[in-house]
């Protein structure tokens, strides 16, 4: 590369307008410096809509297409080059608007080549015969344009004057100012400091930073032995006692690479004041200015350094491969990594509605409630008594200068560290109230705000212990866009899972009309497949097929668990109401939920409350909350008796069939016996009907085993078989012996409520032992057993291994396949069944359930958890053979 090569530096994400007359070499330039898909040419678009690249009548439609594609590309964050003459101000205005509407920077590259060069090139082209007057006009327009490009809003303007210059130019792409994706942390992210130097110093010490001082003893920097870095969320200045001290420290740390700082609205105003602009010196600015004057006196040049520092502050940063965004007042997802006036305004001032509240403060639109981005957004700006997660966003301004606390979040640990303010340095215009109350107040009447105000400034809660989670404020309703329509859920264990629109439509009805609050509905269990069909005489299912399946999946040891015949049940149990409020955002006084496979409550709220008390008592007595260091658990269990939930179905369907058989068959046998006695040849029919009568009795016996009367909770039993989640962890990596032990401890703590699950552990060759056990179980009326990989979660050569296969007993199956299914002729036909679809469904639902739990425990926002749970319910409405 020779020294004369012009280097053209453009932001990585920008809209590049090539400007130049026809024949100035724009297309050639574009081809040389950009990928073909990055370049949108007006000629090409004319061809698209009119089959003729030179059909000027199609220009309007062609540009509609061009802008449409440009919009889609920019929205997706892709650099886009527009290859059109762009010599008219009108055309360029549209480009600038297109760039601004996607919050990217507009860039102009002007090919201002001599008119004769352009004319010659055009003359050589067969397809384009412009009159000289056309070029003349373009040339004049270009001349006039050169002066106005800056004013039109182009942030970078490059002009190439000669063919040589154009040919030798090199285009380089530079990262955006806000792009710190390569910085992966770990970080300590600190909320609004507002000149509170002592608290900042204390907080940094708590976080493990070593202070650095100059000879005068002034704090000039701090560094961390593990190379952690601080992110200041803006509003370092104003109101507090030592703005210069805070700035000196922050400047030193950023200069040394130990910290990053984004601009706050107070910095933006201070820098204008320092430059001598006319700004109102309210909200603590006057104090800052006089403090800075004093500092300047002691340390000449300090003011200038401050001005330079503040002027260089970027309004937001994107860190850690895009997973973390820091902005003073927060930032909605569409603005992450973007640059425009409104992006900066949002980052500095928040999403203001233009209205003011009864305290004269701007009403802020609670953008975080709508936030659906994957990046964690950390911000300050609005003082709150206690940080609360809202959809993966967290405000860390705990009002230190107003007498609250100075708070940091350790990232990626998601732990809060805070120090209390030494005193109230500045009286707040509005009392500090919880964000949830504040947002209600902003929407509704003055009455609720007044009542919040009358409660006085909220007292900060006792500092959180190490195990306490950051409070979460879950929205009490989710957005219908989170669930409706065709959806694809990305799971870590089974890739992308597609939910068809029709299934979502069915699920939303059940979810809306019958299910418990989505904040409790953190998990739904997957369906379970039966074993492959047995060919043994008289049987449809047999343990042999389960063992064969796990052997071929590469599983070495299995557990056979007795299958309780009840109803699948998920129980979310909180240690107390406070945990329910802090972790699940439920504030109606309930402290858990017990629900069915489709998310419906088993019992009335009152009875559920009593059941939860029992569960809580047992978990506490068994020491499980303590052991897991968790204030809540999610349990997977079977609730018995079957009749507790299914009594209507048992009566309407099963008992009814039994009653009909009991009424009909004796009469049939009676008339056949009489016919036989009078010499008719009905023996075969009589034998067949006697067999049917026996089958009908067996059928009645089968369902009767699973019915017993309950009254309130009396008679209700719970057989837990898995602990699903606690605050810290999921447990699908704990083998099933561990889960069985846990269940036994619960049973020991409350033997009346809990039922243990008989089980046999064996390696995959232990089929005979398991078969004997299964035969015993089912002979005495058991439903059967479930064979599971002992290790619990297992991946095999073909991906996820089925978490369980049910082997149901012959008598139990009468309930499913009908009283007479055991007749040879029936069995032969029933063996033609397809477990493949059921297996596939079971695997997808299993993966979605795991995903829901992983997201729950990972502290992801409710909508992300709900997405998975909803998907399980939607998949359950898929048509598969219901007898499997």
């Amino acid at each position: 590369m020779s020294a004369t090569n012009r280097e053209i530096a453009i932001p990585e994400l920008s809209l590049v307008a090539l400007v130049g007359m026809s024949g100035s070499g724009k297309s050639t330039f574009a081809r040389r410096h950009f990928a073909p898909t990055e370049v949108l040419s007006s000629d090409f678009c004319r061809g698209l809509v009119a089959d003729d690249e030179n059909d000027q009548a199609a220009t309007r439609d062609a540009f509609d297409v061009l802008y449409y594609i440009a919009g889609k590309r920019l929205a997706a964050g892709r650099l886009t080059v527009v290859d059109a003459t762009n010599v008219q101000a009108d055309a360029r205005r549209q480009l600038v608007e297109a760039a601004r509407s996607q919050d990217v920077l507009p860039v102009a590259i002007v090919l201002d080549l001599p008119e004769q060069v352009c004319a010659q090139r055009n003359a050589q082209r067969q397809d384009r015969q412009f009159g000289q007057h056309v070029l003349r006009r373009q040339h004049d327009q270009l001349r006039r344009s050169m002066r106005s490009l800056k004013r039109e809003g182009f942030r970078h303007i490059w002009v190439l004057k000669t063919p040589e210059e154009a040919d030798s130019a090199v285009v380089t792409r530079v990262a955006m100012f806000n792009d710190l994706r390569d910085e992966t942390g770990p970080f300590d992210v600190i909320g609004d400091v507002h000149g509170c130097l002592e608290e900042l110093e204390e907080l940094l010490a708590m976080l493990g930073y070593a202070a650095e001082r100059d000879q005068a003893g002034r704090l000039t920097g701090a560094s961390h032995p593990q190379q952690r870095k601080v992110i200041f969320l803006g509003d370092l200045v104003d109101r507090g006692p030592d703005t210069p001290g805070v700035l000196r420290l922050a400047m030193g740390m950023t200069a040394a690479g130990n910290a990053f700082a984004v601009a706050g609205n107070h910095e933006a105003k201070l820098v204008r004041a320092l430059r001598g602009r006319d700004v109102k010196t309210s909200h603590g600015l006057a104090e800052s200015l006089s403090q800075l004057d004093a500092a300047e006196a002691a340390e000449p040049g300090f003011r200038k350094n401050v001005e330079r520092f503040l002027d260089g502050l970027v309004s937001h940063y994107v860190f850690d491969a895009g997973q973390l965004v820091a902005a003073h007042a927060g930032l909605k997802e569409a603005y992450h990594g973007r640059a425009s006036g409104r992006v900066r305004a949002f980052a500095l001032y928040g999403d203001t509605t233009g209205e003011t509240d009864e305290f004269g403060l701007p009403v802020r639109y609670p953008w975080a409630n709508d936030y659906r981005g994957r990046a964690m957004v950390l911000y300050g700006h609005t003082p709150i008594p206690e940080p609360e997660w809202v959809n993966n966003t967290l405000c860390l301004d705990t009002g230190c200068v107003f007498g609250g606390r100075l708070t940091a979040l350790r990232y990626p640990e998601r732990e809060l560290v805070c120090v209390p303010a030494r005193r109230t340095y500045y009286e707040p215009a509005r009392p500090l109230v919880a964000a949830s109350a504040a947002s209600a107040a902003s929407a509704a009447s003055a009455a609720s705000a007044a009542s919040a105000a009358s409660a006085g400034p909220a007292v900060p809660a006792a500092s959180a212990g190490p195990a306490a989670e950051v409070r979460r404020r879950e929205p009490d309703v989710l957005d219908i866009g989170d669930v409706l329509g065709k959806r694809i859920v990305q799971t870590r264990h089974h890739g992308r899972i597609t939910i068809a629109e029709r299934n979502a439509a069915a699920a939303i009805e059940v979810m809306s009309r019958f299910a418990v609050d989505p904040r409790w509905l953190v998990y739904l269990p997957p369906t379970m497949s039966p074993v492959a069909t047995s060919q043994r005489s008289g049987l449809l299912e047999h343990p042999a097929e389960a063992f064969a399946a796990y052997r071929s999946a590469g599983v070495d040891a299995v557990i056979c668990e007795e299958k309780h015949m009840g109803s699948r049940c998920v129980a979310v149990v909180c240690a107390d109401e406070r945990v329910a409020a802090d972790r699940f955002g439920i504030e109606d006084g309930s402290a858990g939920a017990v629900y069915t496979r489709t998310g419906r409550p088993f019992f009335s709220p009152e009875l559920t409350g009593r059941l939860l008390d029992r569960l809580r008592g047992a978990l506490t007595r068994a020491g499980i909350f303590d052991e897991l260091a968790s204030g809540w658990v999610v349990l997977d269990a079977e609730l018995l008796p079957w009749s507790a939930k299914a009594e209507d179905l048992i009566r309407d369907q099963y008992a009814t069939v039994g009653a009909a058989a009991r009424a009909a068959l004796p009469a049939v046998i009676d008339v056949l016996e009489r016919a036989a006695a009078s010499g008719r040849d009905v023996d075969a029919l009589l034998a067949s009907m006697r067999a049917r009568e026996a089958n009908a009795h067996a059928f009645t016996d089968a369902y009767r085993r699973y019915c017993w009367p309950v009254s309130g909770l009396d008679g209700v039993q719970l057989a837990p078989f898995q602990l699903l989640a606690s605050q810290k962890a999921t447990f699908h990596d704990h083998d099933h012996r561990w889960h069985m032990k846990l269940a036994e401890r619960l049973a020991a703590a409350d033997p009346l409520l809990f039922l243990t699950t008989r089980h046999v552990v064996t390696d995959v060759t232990g089929e005979d032992e398991a078969t004997k056990w299964w035969e015993e179980l089912t002979r005495s009326g058991g439903e059967g057993m479930v064979v599971k990989p002992l290790a619990n979660y297992v991946r095999g050569p073909h991906g996820l291994v089925q978490p369980g296969l049910k082997v149901r007993g012959g008598e139990y199956l009468r309930i499913i396949y009908g009283p007479d299914y055991t007749q040879a002729a029936n069995l032969d036909r029933l063996r033609v069944r397809n477990v493949g679809a059921k297996r596939s469904l079971a695997a997808r639902e299993y993966a979605l359930g795991l995903e829901a739990l992983d997201r729950l425990v990972g502290g992801e926002p409710l909508w992300r958890v709900h997405e998975c749970v909803f998907a399980v319910l939607a998949l359950e409405s898929e048509p598969v053979d219901p007898r499997l």
Partner: protein, 474 residues
């Protein structure tokens, strides 16, 4: 599965001639549902009994054409009473096997075929929906002496009560053809189950079999309604599958478009639904609303008058039930194109916020809130009053105090099986005041239907008006 026909005419064995089935033989006929057998447990000159036994093939019942079970069938179709009960399948078998006898043709014994005979019919397991006494109401007017004894559901669980089956004995002098036709029509009527396996030209069959007796029957309406009501609905809906997953009957979930138990005020010509609709329309017109959403529009009954009134320039109907929306779409499709152009119909939920519902003048929740579980009412309020924030919200709900005025409604029973609660007037007002205060609305109340001095109107209406101009709360 079984019906026996006995006679004591002399000689009783002539029954064989009349039925065209020889008393000495067991005869078997293939029918759609399995095999029909005819035989005679007794055949003497004093008394002769013919038995028709339908042996149902339970597996074949639900197998598709490819020999594999159709996946769209419900579990209830696999395990059901059809192999035992005297249902439409038995009626069909009867008409196949005794076709000639039903037309009262008998060349060998024409007089006996034309005359009333001493007959006794026995149906040991007759499904009788509506209680054992319905059998009496249907057969007695035809000249039968009826003995219907209920069968207990399960003797092990006495408190489950009786099953839907009765052991039915009919005695009386009756023409044999009439007796057979009575059974042919009334077995499926009493069963009142879905005719999964019956052909579709049912009206003709009813006319033919009912000749001479149906027209004058006091229960004629019930008979025709039930006979024709249950068109084959074999497809298991997605919702029914979800019910099954939860060990519930399909209609425990799939009931969004069910009719309420109470549809009419005792002394009013207008139905309650009409009264409510006109009260709601009146209130909407008073507010001057132009854009209106009917939230929980059901089958779209209210959308029709809204679209008929051009002061409403934008009419939105939403429901959470796809089935309801399909019905509403069919209703709208019958309206004029210009009216349809003002309508929007889409699935939405009252417990998920929905941007498509913001910026409206008014929203209607007509007989909707009582279908929401009380713990979820707060989410509904947040969605409607907090997010959608229309200028006016109209809410109607039953007045529980008024329920004592419905003679057919058992005490403590709600007006619709899906109602989660029904409120008294003070309860409704308390809730409404809370919502209004929380979200910046005022609430006014109006009666719907005539106001009973003691227990108030059948329906209560609350009109919420937004007091501020604050936009959506997010």
């Amino acid at each position: 599965m079984l019906v026996t026909i006995s006679t004591t005419m002399y000689p009783a064995t002539d029954l064989g001639f009349l039925l065209h089935k020889h008393p000495e033989k067991l005869q078997s006929f293939p029918v759609t549902a399995g095999t029909a057998h005819v035989f005679y447990p007794e055949a003497t000159v004093r008394r002769c009994t013919a038995a028709l036994l339908l042996e149902v093939d339970p597996v074949a019942l639900v197998r598709g054409t490819r020999g594999q079970a159709a996946e769209s069938f419900t579990l209830g179709q696999y395990v059901n009473d059809r192999p035992y009960a005297a249902s439409s399948m038995l009626a069909v078998a009867l008409s196949r096997v005794f076709k000639t006898a039903m037309s009262s043709r008998c060349d060998a014994r024409p007089q006996a075929a034309a005359a009333p005979l001493p007959l006794e019919l026995h149906v040991p397991a007759l499904p009788c929906r509506g209680g054992a006494d319905l059998a009496g109401r249907l057969f007695t007017p035809l000249g039968w002496q009826v003995a219907a004894s209920p069968i207990p559901l399960d003797p092990r669980f006495p408190d489950w009560g009786d099953s839907r089956y009765v052991d039915l004995r009919l005695t009386g002098p009756m023409r044999l053809a009439d007796a057979l036709n009575h059974l042919y029509v009334l077995l499926p009527v009493l069963d009142d189950a879905k005719h999964y396996w019956v052909s579709t030209d049912e009206i003709d069959k009813l006319v033919r079999a009912g000749q001479g007796w149906l027209a004058g029957h006091p229960e004629r309406d019930l008979i025709t309604r039930r006979y024709l009501a249950h068109q084959a609905q074999m497809q298991r809906t997605a919702l029914a599958r979800l019910a099954e997953v939860d060990d519930s009957a399909a209609d425990a979930l799939d009931n969004a478009t069910d009719e309420p138990r109470v549809t009419q005020e005792p002394d009013r010509a207008q139905s309650l639904a009409e009264l409510r609709a006109s009260a709601v329309l009146e209130a909407l017109r008073t507010t001057g609303a132009r854009s209106v959403a009917d939230l929980g529009c059901g089958d779209g009954k209210l959308l029709v008058p809204l679209l008929a009134d051009t002061t409403f320039t934008r009419v939105i109907g939403t429901d959470v039930s796809s089935r309801a929306l399909e019905m509403a779409a069919r209703r709208l499709a019958r309206m004029a194109e210009r009216q349809q152009e003002r309508a929007e119909l889409f699935q939405s939920s009252l417990v998920y916020r929905d941007d498509r519902l913001t910026g409206l003048d008014a929203a209607v929740l007509m007989e909707v809130i009582e279908h929401i579980d009380p713990p979820r009412l707060a989410a509904m309020a947040r969605t409607v009053f907090g997010f959608a924030r229309p200028g006016t919200v109209l809410v109607t709900t039953p007045n529980a105090e008024h329920n004592v005025r419905y003679a057919t409604l058992a005490a403590g029973t709600f007006r619709h099986r899906d109602h989660r609660f029904e409120w008294t007037r003070p309860q409704f007002r308390e809730w409404a005041a809370g919502v209004a205060g929380k979200f910046g609305y005022t609430a006014a109340f109006l009666p719907v239907g005539s106001e009973d001095p003691e227990v108030g109107p059948p329906t209560q209406l609350a009109i919420f008006s937004r007091t501020d101009t604050t936009g959506s709360d997010r």
